[in-house]
Symmetry: D2
Subunit: 244 residues, 4 copies
Amino acid sequence: MSSKALAIIAGVGPGTGASIARRFAKSYSVVLLARNPASYDPVVQEIKASGGQAIGISTDVADGNSVNSTFDQIAKQFPSSPLAAAIFNPSGGFSKKPFLELNEEEFSQALEFQAKGGFHFARRTLPLLLEAKDKISYPPTLIFTGATASVKGSAQFATFATGKFALRALAQSLAREFGPQGVHVSHSIIDGVIDIARTKGYTFEHEDAKLSPDAIADSYWYLHTQPRTTFAFELDLRPYIEKW
Amino acid sequence: MSSKALAIIAGVGPGTGASIARRFAKSYSVVLLARNPASYDPVVQEIKASGGQAIGISTDVADGNSVNSTFDQIAKQFPSSPLAAAIFNPSGGFSKKPFLELNEEEFSQALEFQAKGGFHFARRTLPLLLEAKDKISYPPTLIFTGATASVKGSAQFATFATGKFALRALAQSLAREFGPQGVHVSHSIIDGVIDIARTKGYTFEHEDAKLSPDAIADSYWYLHTQPRTTFAFELDLRPYIEKW
Amino acid sequence: MSSKALAIIAGVGPGTGASIARRFAKSYSVVLLARNPASYDPVVQEIKASGGQAIGISTDVADGNSVNSTFDQIAKQFPSSPLAAAIFNPSGGFSKKPFLELNEEEFSQALEFQAKGGFHFARRTLPLLLEAKDKISYPPTLIFTGATASVKGSAQFATFATGKFALRALAQSLAREFGPQGVHVSHSIIDGVIDIARTKGYTFEHEDAKLSPDAIADSYWYLHTQPRTTFAFELDLRPYIEKW
Amino acid sequence: MSSKALAIIAGVGPGTGASIARRFAKSYSVVLLARNPASYDPVVQEIKASGGQAIGISTDVADGNSVNSTFDQIAKQFPSSPLAAAIFNPSGGFSKKPFLELNEEEFSQALEFQAKGGFHFARRTLPLLLEAKDKISYPPTLIFTGATASVKGSAQFATFATGKFALRALAQSLAREFGPQGVHVSHSIIDGVIDIARTKGYTFEHEDAKLSPDAIADSYWYLHTQPRTTFAFELDLRPYIEKW
């Protein structure tokens, strides 16, 4: 394949991940990661059909070996493509449950997908982003998707909040370590219901009450284009009617 | 003058305010407010020279009568122009001084310029922004400029921090009240030295160590273009090498 | 009067201020400040009746002259009493109102009582606290009373939130400047309804749903007794059933 | 052994844990948990020598089986002792290292000790605390020890910060779920160097520059004695000269 710059998006389902993939595919070849090909295949097809370059690779971000094998494959397929952007967006670990009903495996799910997943993803993308610095138009960018639970540990959300708080800590630490090396590390707090197939049934008194995945993707693209003089670290996104 | 939509920028000097004015002048007629015509005149001339529409009005944001008279004048000059964006960006009240050496007037400066200034500005712009809702392309937007001192009260910064904390409180309260009415209220935290004439002498070990006023202006424009499904409230902007 | 150490409490009504006064009167002579003698007289009488030393002085904390005259009077009455603790606890400026219905005077009330009041009070107490350092058993202490509105600008709370955010900024700045000089500056966030005469009518599903003013006073006393190796800056206090 | 109420302290070494154990042993039988008996044996002996009741149990908080076996043993040894307080204080997972030099095991250490450790400890103590409610003098209390890294992800601290952020998320979630059930859940942020054997060599320009473990223990005891009308969730503790 070409040496057009790359964007890698981890966590591509029918929602935000797909919109991010479509948005970044306007400028880059995109690599879509999800556990299940069914999650990324339609998006890959759609991007290719509209003239973009995209591949999907089945990856379990919580599993270091899986992530390593994915990145080895990417290196083979795109030997000379600089990595312009890496987006960490997996949804794994969301749950609401009384604390005393959680077993260790359930409690650990968000830590595995979010915190360890973030670690595996960052460890493989950061060296590529550092290398890409002088080969691409914008500062190489690593964005983590957060949630309300990134900054608030609500009752019965111990699982998701521990994972999302940990991911935010990781993002902050990486921003402070790799920002001065020219990599733009950002964290977005998605605070509200996203408008995707799964949430079609959620109705609200007001229209436009759900976050638009395309608008989230536009925000990520905007973060990517910021010059290094003026990096945003954190962006909170919510619908106009959201209570917060 | 025409009924092109308006943007009003309070606090226009040679730095961020001027960049914001230039950026918004690409789409709107802009009204520039500053205490001293010397602050806005060059920007007004520059915008007009490049084909844009701009006027400046001498205004002391800390003085309710001055703000009222300014908005009465705007209403006369632009009787049918919807207000698309209002940016509150005055720098008044910055000071560093041992607390016990402050007199009441010095202590109150940031409260006057930032908190009361924000009040006067919001009171006159919000009704216009609410009215503009269905007449402009993007959600009507009110943006407040914050600083490091908006979230951290450092030693010897009691004056500036009280003003900037208060302004952030105002922004949050307005976002929660007027967001659901369709007005996008945002607050940006400018964390670092801005690259303007006054800071030319500040040198850093690394290049690009100062915030670009044009990039700040681009971020404000980006906030303005977000759809109401996906509003950002707070954006922190800093140079890549900034310690935080 | 004796040279027993002093505690000065600004903002003494029938609630938290009275409890703080009673608690600190167990160890110190207490000076109670309120605009209206009716606010402090019953507490002064009660403390004296139980063997303590107390006086009240009518003071408007928002008015620098009033505060100065009060401290001049204190200096005359207690010429050799070191100041062990100063508590800033005025309630002025609470209001809930749609933003566009606020006039400047209403908007400014919390800025006057909380921010400027805090300034006036700190300016006169800090020199006394610094002087007292080696003359009292515990580190000299300056405590500011905050509220939910100190960290959250809710809709229609622009007035109170600007005042309380500003007061928290002041407290942070003073803690960072005067902590290293041995003065313990603290800020408490009172998050809930306080159990006082005025709130008797507020009923809740659960018992003990209101904050106990005596328990708040105990917390303030606890802060006062912390050694300088181990100062707490911020303490959030709420009833067990409070949603937050 | 007697049916005196119990306090269980996880993470007892020569520092804060030992001080907490001594403080709570003034009122309760104490159970000290650490991986290595060498960590708790001297404290157990000291408490017993001064007339208190104490036992130590080797426990790896990161290992659910180890924690379960410990609590089974506690249930046997203290069949009728209500659990008054549980303190989670393990130090595991502290490290400073460039991110790209971390392997998965190193990265995961703080997640294991802090986040999963906190989960295992909370899961076994909360049912006992709920049961104890009407049998003890103060509200049953669960306190988690945090650090600067609980609220700031510094460069090269990805490991410790992810663990400590996650633990804070857990504490928040539990406070919101179990507070209304009468259990006082708290989180303390220890911000500075603690004065223990290991830090004897750290010298500072000023005296009293290190946190006193006994003063931290006093603060934990103070939290424990708060009535349910007036619970503190978060307490930040630092030496007077600390920069923050």
